[in-house]
Amino acid sequence: MIPLSHYLVVSTILFGIGAYGLLRTRNAVKILMCIEIMLNAANINLVAFSRYTGEMSGQVFVTFSISIAAAEAAIGLAIILVIYRIYSTIDAGKIDSMKW
């Protein structure tokens, strides 16, 4: 059987990749994609711990987390569309009317 630490390492690497992509890119859609990567890394952790401790509530929480992620993606992409309509760009570095 696969040791628990393998899952933790995979999820950590995924989270690191997501964090790096989040810091690196300026494209708003890509920022959302990196957030999805990080959320998925957290889900792997939850399911792995739930399997290895025999506690099923971890999987219930993953169900919640997936629904939250879906809501977040819908709202985020709607916001991106509105921003694109107003600024005609989705470059996160150029949207600066609230910056002073």
Binding site: M1, I2, P3, L4, S5, Y7, L8, V10, T12, I13, L14, F15, G16, I17, G18, Y20, L23, R24, T25, R26, N27, A28, V29, K30, L32, M33, C34, E36, I37, N40, N43, I44, V47, S50, R51, T53, G54, M56, Q59, V60, V62, T63, F64, I66, A70, A71, A74, I75, L77, A78, I80, L81, V82, Y84, T89, I90, D91, A92, G93, K94
Partner: protein, 163 residues
């Protein structure tokens, strides 16, 4: 025994490679396709953990809905924001973060945990029971959140009628 490990390594390799592709490729459309690949590989990881229900939900929600939403957003907007930034500092910050977590994982000796030998048969039924007994209030809150998110998204993305 060794087969399990081999399959897991293959899946983990696919997951990590496609995640790297998501953040490195220039064409954002291809990034979305790599993201799709990553979601499917993560569903495979869930199957190795014997969480079939979560794997099915992952395929339905992420690979089905979220990727389609992202593709729509890509099609409806101009592709920009791809200018290069000096990635050294950001890379160092993420690497440091990664190292700290790795050290923590190593410190806690998580590999002492042996998996329970018998998998609970019918884990999906157990999830349903938990969802409607112990976690019924969070469940209702989540459905409210989904409704609010749906209405909000429709309201925001709706085209303004010219006065």
């Amino acid at each position: 025994m060794t087969n399990d490990i081999l399959v897991f390594y293959l899946i983990a390799f696919t997951t990590i490679i496609s995640a790297i592709l998501v953040i490195t490729m220039r064409d954002i459309f291809r990034c979305a396709i790599a993201l799709l690949m990553m979601f499917v590989a993560i569903a495979a990881i869930f199957i190795t953990l014997e969480a079939e229900f979560i794997a099915a939900v992952q395929i339905l929600v992420y690979a089905g809905a979220v990727v389609v939403l992202i593709l729509f957003a890509i099609m409806l907007t101009k592709r920009d924001g791809e200018r290069d930034m000096i990635p050294v500092f950001r890379g160092l910050v993420s690497l440091l973060f990664l190292l700290v977590i790795m050290l923590y994982v190593g410190e806690m000796n998580w590999w002492r945990y042996a998996p329970p030998m018998e998998a609970e048969a019918g884990s999906t039924a157990l999830i349903g029971t938990l969802l409607f007994s112990e976690f019924v209030v969070p469940f209702e809150v989540i459905s409210l959140i989904l409704l609010v998110a749906m209405i909000g998204a429709i309201y925001m993305a709706k085209k303004e009628v010219a006065e």
